[in-house]
């Protein structure tokens, strides 16, 4: 009971701290951007950035704009498509590379050459490869998560304590059983970590891909958040640039948080200490 109360107090304190930190940050930002009108001189960098209040006003105006929500929707869709494709391809690939030495020997060299190539370097090639703009963007986001997931799964599965295999074997496990009940759960924490990191990269990549490729076929409103930012820049609406940036931050935070929750649900033995 006492421990519970203590934990609650700590939790609240850290929450309070977070709120204060964000508030102070916003205040400094506001002062910085308005320093020219208030004090007569511009603070370098921040002097050119729209103030938070101006951003909020612009944001409020956008809340009723279906184009803004369409951008959210498009980017989310692309992120999810690329991310899930990366999971579906990457997890089995990583596991199979860890389990089968021959396969690993054949695949790993090419994998290691392709891995350091930044996903954005793939944009022109993927526009040429894929029939539609949509597919090329999804492909680039896929790459962003794919390599991270594979490397994590591979590393996780390879570092399983050999005694787990030995004891499973001596208790009469078949190979399939060892895979299903030892390799898979033992790799799960690495899968979760790889996915969380991969998800972050996916958001970074999708925005850049949208900017470069012009954001899909359906013109300005169907372009995703990346295109939304670019369009705002071209149109000279600096408040909207910031709105777009913060929107991406929020989207990334929400998806990471959901993944963390899901991961902790899937790995109860790490949660309960």
């Amino acid at each position: 009971m006492n421990a519970k109360r203590l934990r609650k107090a700590l939790f609240n304190r850290s929450k309070l701290r977070a709120v204060i930190a964000i508030f102070v940050f916003l205040v400094l930002w506001e002062i910085g951007s308005r320093s020219k009108e208030w004090f007569g001189f511009a603070v370098p960098w921040i002097g050119h950035v729209p103030a938070p209040t101006a951003v909020v006003v612009a944001w409020y105006g956008l809340l009723g704009d279906p184009g803004y929500w369409q951008s959210w929707y498009m980017s989310t869709l692309r992120v999810l498509a690329g991310f899930f494709a990366a999971m579906v391809v990457g997890i089995p690939l990583g596991l199979f590379m860890a389990v089968n030495r021959t396969f690993n020997g054949l695949v790993f060299p090419s994998f290691e050459i392709l891995r350091p190539i930044p996903p954005l370097a793939w944009v022109p090639a993927s526009i040429i490869f894929w029939p539609s703009q949509e597919l090329s963007i999804a492909f680039v986001t896929f790459l962003g998560a794919f390599f991270t997931i594979v490397i994590n799964v591979l590393g996780g599965a390879k570092s399983i304590d050999p005694r787990y295999f030995q004891s499973a074997q001596s208790m009469g496990s078949s190979q399939w059983d060892v895979f299903r009940r030892v390799v898979l759960p033992a790799t799960l924490p690495s899968i979760v970590v790889g996915s969380a990191v991969g998800m972050g990269i996916t958001w970074e990549v999708v925005v850049a891909a949208e900017m470069i490729s012009g954001g899909g076929g359906s013109g300005g409103s169907g372009g995703g958040l990346g295109f939304f930012i670019w369009n705002s820049y071209v149109g000279g609406s600096y408040e909207q640039i910031v709105v777009g940036m913060i929107s991406i931050g929020i989207a990334g935070f929400i998806s990471s948080e959901l993944l963390r929750k899901l991961g902790s649900y899937l790995t109860p033995w790490l949660r309960k200490r």
């Binding site: 005694r163 499973a168 001596s170 009469g172 496990s173 759960p185 033995w269 309960k272």
Partner: protein
């Protein structure tokens, strides 16, 4: 505390009707070396002994004398360089569920609850039967973990983990149980508690057990037969029949004159081995030799 004493008293609940099988392992002229050419290191050389049926055989020897290698050979995880290991006349060629190994540090699966860990073997063989489930409950109670059945290994204490591991091995009803320093790293009180739990489990079944340790008190408390290893390359130097009555209880065993005599005998053999490797330049043996001379001259730091 109450729960523990209760569990240690003669079976409070009856074991489901499980027939104990027991086998005998015969090790004949086994050698094992690693590396090749100039770098060959012989770990076990011409080693012969028998793990007798229905007995608890304890092997004791200085650390690094090839005991763990021997266990890997017995388990079938590795093959010997020469010689043969037979279980009931059948040559051991690989791991099998007739021999079960309990490892030095806990090898419980951290992603499974205590109960699921214990049921791993039966489920792996498609034997998730009522009999096995009853046996799992029985073993849980027997090792004092009924209240911890839904906990994950990281939530258990070191001693609880080892007990869960014993239960996980025993439910498979192996012909021979092989234990590689299973209580190593536990503090001395939990270690003694483990001895009582473990010997209680053994006394109930008299399954063939092979137990490797470096702890002389542990060896004498548990053993029916005591095998003393030489220094590397490993060989069995002596066999002592430990004819102390069962069931064994701590207070009783360590006040017993016969136990003290066996301990002195075993120590003097170990001392001879240590002297040999000491003169061969082994630093590790020096500690043993020094401790032994202090003990026998009565000038040691812990006088008795």
């Amino acid at each position: 505390m109450n729960a523990i004493t209760q569990n240690l008293s003669p079976a409070s609940s009856k074991s489901p009707n499980v027939k104990i099988k027991a086998a005998e392992i015969k090790v004949t002229n086994v050698s094992k070396s690693y590396g090749a050419g100039l770098f060959t290191k012989e770990v076990i050389k011409d080693c012969s002994f028998t793990i007798e049926r229905n007995k608890l055989t304890v092997m004791i020897g200085p650390s690094g004398c090839g005991k763990s290698t021997l266990i890997r050979l017995l388990a079938g995880f590795e093959k010997s360089s020469s010689g043969s290991i037979e279980i009931d006349g059948k040559r051991i060629t690989g791991p099998g569920r007739d021999r079960l190994v309990v490892f030095q540090e806990s090898a419980l699966f951290p992603w499974m609850t205590t109960y699921d860990n214990i049921m791993y073997g039966p489920k792996a063989r498609g034997e998730n039967t009522q009999l096995n489930r009853d046996q799992a409950e029985y073993l849980l109670e027997k090792v004092g973990l009924t209240a911890f059945r839904e906990k994950y290994p990281p939530q258990l204490s070191g001693g609880m983990q080892r007990r869960a591991e014993l239960a996980r091995a025993m439910i498979n009803n192996p012909d021979v149980m092989i234990l590689d320093e299973p209580f190593r790293g536990l503090d001395c009180m939990s270690k003694e508690l483990m001895w009582e739990y473990y010997s209680g489990l053994y006394e109930e079944s008299h399954r063939t057990n092979f137990f490797v340790t470096t702890d002389i008190d542990e060896a004498i408390f548990l053993a029916d037969r005591l095998l003393i290893m030489s220094n590397i390359p490993g060989q069995v130097r002596a066999t002592i029949e430990v004819d102390l009555p069962r069931p064994r209880r701590l207070a009783f065993v360590f006040d017993n004159e016969r136990a003290v005599a066996i301990k002195m005998e075993a120590l003097s053999i170990l001392h001879k081995e240590a002297m040999k490797s000491f003169s061969g330049g082994s630093k590790a043996a020096a500690d043993f030799v020094e401790a032994y001379s202090k003990r026998s001259s009565g000038s040691g730091p812990s006088e008795q």
